[in-house]
């Protein structure tokens, strides 16, 4: 990849890293694994980037690659120490207008999501991010009807976990 394209790639990732963090947080349960998965997603995105033709929005394309990495490619491994050493510039986020209630709700949601299987997690994430059914079906490679049925099941399961 040439330098110009590489710079553009990094800018695109930085602008959309929130999406990757959401996926990492849903599919992992600790910070080391979170960073590890983030790294694997970055590698996969970087490898696939030259083939990204811009037919879809970058964020849509990125969402799909990130989900695919989390579901099908990622293997938990022992390189967390190595990964942790990488980040010397970790920034602690400043929470302005900090809303404790919302923060707790998000925390609760992630805890519930951790009880879902890999496919249900993907469905749940796409539901919460308001993805249309056409996109959900296309991302997972199933029919729209199938996506709707699976989504209803997942939502019912999630509600049960949230309100047992």
């Amino acid at each position: 990849m040439n330098k110009e394209l590489e710079n553009k790639f990094v800018k695109d990732i930085l602008a959309n890293q929130g999406i990757i963090h959401k996926i990492c947080r849903a599919y992992t349960t600790n910070d080391d694994a979170h960073k590890d998965l983030f790294q694997e997603i970055s590698i996969q995105l970087y490898k696939a980037y030259p083939k990204f033709r811009g037919e879809s929005k970058f964020s849509t394309w990125m969402y799909r690659v990130a989900l695919n990495t989390a579901i099908s490619l990622y293997r938990k491994n022992k390189r967390s120490i190595q990964t942790s050493e990488l980040f010397d510039n970790l920034k602690e986020l400043e929470f302005k207008d900090y809303d404790d209630t919302k923060d707790k709700q998000v925390e609760m949601l992630y805890k519930a999501i951790h009880n879902l299987n890999d496919i249900e997690k993907a469905l749940c994430l796409m539901y919460l991010d308001d993805k249309p059914y056409t996109e959900i079906a296309e991302t997972l490679g199933i029919t729209e009807v199938n996506a709707r049925v699976k989504m209803n099941r997942t939502k019912t399961k999630l509600k049960k976990i949230l309100n047992p």
Binding site: N117, I119, L162
Partner: protein, 200 residues
Amino acid sequence: MDVLDNLKDAWKDQKSKNIQFTESDIYKMMHKKSSSIVKWIFYISIIEFVILFTSNFFIDYDEMKELGMQNFVTVLVTLSFIVGVVFVTLFYKNYKNICVSDSTKKLMNDILKTKKIVSTYIIIQLILAGITIIWSAYATAQSYDLSNDEHLLNSTKFWIIITIFTIFMLGVFWLFYQLLYGILLKRLKKNYKELSESLE
């Protein structure tokens, strides 16, 4: 309003926990080596191809000649070579076809298909190995019978032992192989099954 719809607002406003990466972090990360399942399958498959391929060079031709098996071995090695070339080509073509930006189901299908090609290759090699063991046993027994005036070839006990031995050896190898891939692909297979389940 649905309880989940209520939570959507909080979801959309969420901050990225405590982790936020800088430009230099991203640069460092994207140049790291992948440790994905596809990479693992690729490396393990290459090792399998190399081991099975090179095992042909360790055949003791002089001994085979003594047993009158040289024609059999030549056919077997040639066959093994052709099968190897065909499968390496098929494997590489499928491996290259794996694309992370395909749909989740297609990606999983392509990964499993690539692995299946290697498994088929292993099965064919195991069958060839089985034939070799039995043929060698036949040739050895024949030469033993000639020099010792015995009838091993007609002995049911002899053939039962040889058959059990062959099945046992190949079975152990196959089980070990299944275990190796079982661990690697358990999650992927489960997810693929879940996605393939038709609900319409």
